[in-house]
């Protein structure tokens, strides 16, 4: 019983930690940059495959590639926002139109990125074996990667939150989330900040992808599933609330591991049922304002 419980909790923290990282990036992109980024999962997939390639081709430690791939995707995300979404922002007359057009553009990105990945890596399911030796922990045995991933996920999430809460750039981002126009008047370069937010979302996606590639199998078409999970976590935590996404990720991960302990096929169904009930009963989420 004790072992089973521990297994459920570790599994919950493992998936929950990754969900948190994913959802924080997604939440930032929607909450501040106003892009409901349907291609978020594709950035995760790119992060995962970059890590996989670096490991299998050059033997780079996945934790090192985590640090390499993140900033690269940050820059890519930044430039995608500058070239694509900034133009949409400038040419659309109202916020609703901006959101609608950005959604459609991110659909375009989804198809483009996914198919480029298919061209490069082919339609195969991949996986890498890293840190898969057993570790004795609290009386039972776990793969080392399964213990390390949640720790890293929590570390990344906390660091990300502290960055937003305490730095000067974080302050600019928060002001842009509240009142973009006034933030602009106060000397915040709004286009840069929004692009940075989109880039930070891509950075978090890349981190999550690297962590995913250590523990799970990956494929070029895996993105949409994680995008859907980002939807759910962000709504659960409250749209636009970064701590909400953090907590929501862990809650969803634990729910998933409890449900799949009883009936493995039902965890996704449980996610969607929770999601739709939430939208009907409390669309603001746990920490929404």
């Amino acid at each position: 019983m004790y072992v089973k419980l521990l297994n459920i909790i570790i599994d919950g923290l493992l998936t929950g930690g990754i969900y948190s990282v994913i959802a924080m990036g997604f939440g930032l992109q929607y909450g501040v940059a106003r892009v409901l980024n349907v291609s978020h999962g594709e950035f995760i997939m790119i992060g995962a495959f970059a890590t996989w390639s670096l490991y299998t081709l050059f033997g780079v430690n996945p934790l090192v590639s985590l640090v390499i791939c993140g900033p690269v995707l940050l820059i890519i995300g930044f430039f995608i926002h500058r070239t694509l979404f900034t133009r949409i922002r400038n040419s659309s007359e109202s916020l609703a139109v901006v959101e609608g057009n950005s959604l459609l553009a991110s659909f375009g990105l989804l198809f483009i990125i996914q198919n480029i990945a298919l061209l490069i890596w082919g339609p195969f399911v991949r996986g890498l074996s890293f840190l898969s030796y057993p570790v004795h922990f609290a009386g039972t045995t776990f793969g080392a990667n399964r213990l390390m991933t949640p720790a890293f996920a929590v570390g990344i999430s906390v660091a990300f939150y502290l960055f937003l809460a305490n730095t000067r750039i974080g302050k600019a981002i928060r002001s842009a989330a509240q009142e973009p126009a006034i933030a602009g008047l106060m000397g915040v370069n709004i286009n840069q900040v929004l692009a940075l937010c989109f880039g930070l979302g891509a950075l978090m996606a890349s981190f999550a992808g690297s962590l995913l590639s250590i523990t799970y199998t990956i494929s070029p078409t895996m993105g949409l599933e994680y995008t859907a999970i980002s939807f759910i976590v962000v709504v659960l935590g409250g749209l636009g609330s970064i701590p909400g996404s953090f907590i929501g990720g862990f809650i969803l991960g634990l729910i998933g591991s409890i449900v799949s302990y009883f009936e493995p096929g039902l965890s996704l169904i449980a996610y969607y049922v929770i999601f739709m009930l939430l939208l009907m009963v409390r669309p603001k989420g746990i920490l929404g304002k």
Binding site: L104, F107, G108, F111, I112, N115, F231, M280
Partner: protein, 316 residues
């Protein structure tokens, strides 16, 4: 003196439509089988785009539930196809989708904008996973076989559905219902204050638009002969109608039709050459359209039409 050009202007598109419909309905007599199959695919996409646009065009509510409706129609066909005549099956497929849309509509009354998009997306995914689980654990299968029906019958059913969808879309546009939808799209609160029963209007139109998607799913399932939840609830069926309708343009009735025709034909051409990567081109086209044609193809056409007029004004 002015009457003649006005009537001819109105009669011209009507005549053109009539001509096209006659050509389409007689096609199986003289056309090759390939043309019939290709046109079935094109008409399917047009139906999807057109029925999506019936609700989402004027109101601005972006629905990603099309896959749920389409898949529901397909599964109706799989379950009832052997027992009942084809037309009844297609009708029931449409009605089940309508009921689904009706329920979804009543549940999501309070949701707007992104929340509505997310809910409809969640709905189609939930149904997909429910059926996947049910089939695997209760009925012990993955997919199901559907009775085969000859291509020409399928073609005629699709054609009839297309004409019906077009007619309904046209009638809604010309009616008070259309005006009500338009006003919801402009400003929902204001519309409610002016006496539009926002709830009823939205739910009825949503259910109506779902009918054609479900019916189209029921008939197309017989063409594909084998279906499973991943095929019939493919999220692409949620995305494509949105993309086609926006690409064509939502301002006019012919926008989604143009979008559907272009996408279906493009897919046919690209899929034979780049079987795996044709979606890449869709992505690129989509991004270009969003950036340079914010009002879709229709916007472009209207721009061309207006240009000479503007020139006249400038010169005077």
């Amino acid at each position: 003196m002015n009457i003649a050009p006005v009537t001819s202007k109105r009669l011209f598109p009507l005549g053109l439509l009539f001509l096209v419909l006659i050509l389409l309905s007689t096609l199986p007599i003289y056309g090759p089988k390939y043309a019939v199959i290709l046109l079935t695919d094109i008409l399917l996409y047009v139906i999807l785009a057109l029925s999506w646009a019936i609700f989402s065009g004027p109101t601005g509510y972006i629905s990603l539930a099309s896959a749920a409706f389409f898949g529901a129609g397909m599964y109706t066909s799989a379950f009832l196809g052997k027992a009942l005549p084809l037309f009844v099956v297609v009708g029931i497929g449409g009605l089940i989708s309508s009921c689904l849309a009706f329920m979804a509509g009543t549940l999501t009354l309070r949701l707007r904008g992104m929340y509505f998009i997310m809910f409809t997306f969640g709905l189609s995914q939930l149904i997909k996973h429910l059926i996947l689980w049910w089939e695997a654990h209760v009925s012990g299968t993955i997919g199901r076989f559907v009775i085969i029906i000859d291509v020409i019958t399928v073609y005629y059913v699709i054609l009839v559905l297309f004409v019906m969808a077009l007619l309904i879309a046209y009638l809604i546009r010309r009616s008070r219902l259309g005006l009500a939808l338009q006003s919801i799209g402009e400003n929902e609160d204001a519309a409610a204050h002016r006496g539009v029963n926002v709830t009823v209007v939205k739910v009825i139109t949503f259910a109506l638009s779902a009918f054609f998607i479900g019916a189209a799913g029921a008939i197309m399932a017989t063409r594909w002969t084998y279906i499973d939840p991943s095929i019939s609830f493919n999220p692409l069926y949620s995305f494509m109608p949105v993309l086609m309708a926006i690409f064509g343009g939502l301002g006019q009735l012919y926008g989604p039709i143009i979008g559907g025709v272009i996408f279906a034909y493009l897919e046919e051409v690209l899929i034979t050459r780049f079987a795996y990567y044709y979606m890449l081109f869709f992505g690129i086209i989509l991004v270009i359209v969003i950036l340079y044609l914010p009002n879709g193809f229709v916007g472009l056409i209207q721009k061309w039409r207006k240009r000479p007029l503007e020139g006249q004004h400038a010169s005077t």
